[in-house]
């Protein structure tokens, strides 16, 4: 079957605009994670969804960042009023535990 997919693959936006990133996990995977990878750095955890439990938002860097997940399917990560420091690759992963399967990422560039 298909792996984790993300869209768009690339997004260029202007400072101050809102952006929405999408993740389609592997069917049946109950857990979904968002990570951010800035240039030359490792991945930073952002948010975690597990089934119907309240999401773990402990990694979100500011209140401009939010994410939703519909049941055990698609998730969207929204960044409001984007700043240049938001430029990064945003990676989504889904899991049945313990292995996480990663999507190809969305490269966000804020001008």
């Amino acid at each position: 079957g298909a792996g984790v997919s993300q869209s768009p693959s690339n997004k260029v936006t202007e400072k101050g605009k809102d952006v929405e990133l999408r993740c389609d996990p592997i069917s049946g995977h109950t857990a979904l994670y968002w990570y951010r990878q800035r240039l030359g750095q490792g991945l930073e955890f952002l948010i975690y969804f597990q089934g119907n439990s309240a999401p773990d938002k402990s990694g979100l860097p500011s209140d401009r960042f939010s994410a939703e997940r519909t049941g055990e399917s698609v998730s969207t990560l929204t960044i409001q009023r984007t700043q240049q420091e938001d430029s990064a690759v945003y990676l989504c992963a889904s899991s049945l535990f313990p292995e996480q399967f990663f999507g190809p990422g969305t490269r966000l560039t804020v001008l």
Partner: protein, 109 residues
């Protein structure tokens, strides 16, 4: 809070030479450690995890709790091993991963 450190950003070796990618961690509990790999133009994928204690593509990694290390080793590097390698740690809480900064391995012919 937990932390993962990969001291080398770049490691360059010749084909057939041994390779060791270093990983150190800090966490007060009992972590689960992973190595993930990203080949050129491919997505990040799991290479191995310490609990399974298996060898994948000739790579092994042993968890040393005394030294809080989880170094990745291979006795004879191959050109196709060239990639970015990330060490990652998971606690029991939520299974989210804490990643190191990554090491780029270049295997020269």
């Amino acid at each position: 809070a937990q932390r993962v450190t990969q001291p080398e950003k770049l490691l360059s070796v010749f084909k057939g030479a041994p390779v060791e990618l270093k990983c150190n961690y800090s966490y007060s509990g009992s972590p689960e450690l992973f190595w993930y790999v990203q080949y050129s133009r491919q997505r990040l994928q799991l290479l191995l995890r310490h609990i399974s204690r298996e060898s994948i593509k000739g790579f092994t990694a042993d968890l040393n709790k005394g030294e809080t290390s989880f170094h990745l080793k291979k006795p004879f590097a191959q050109e196709e091993d060239s990639a970015m390698y990330y060490c990652a740690l998971s606690t029991n809480a939520g299974n989210m991963l804490t990643f190191g900064g990554g090491t780029r391995l270049m295997v020269k012919p």
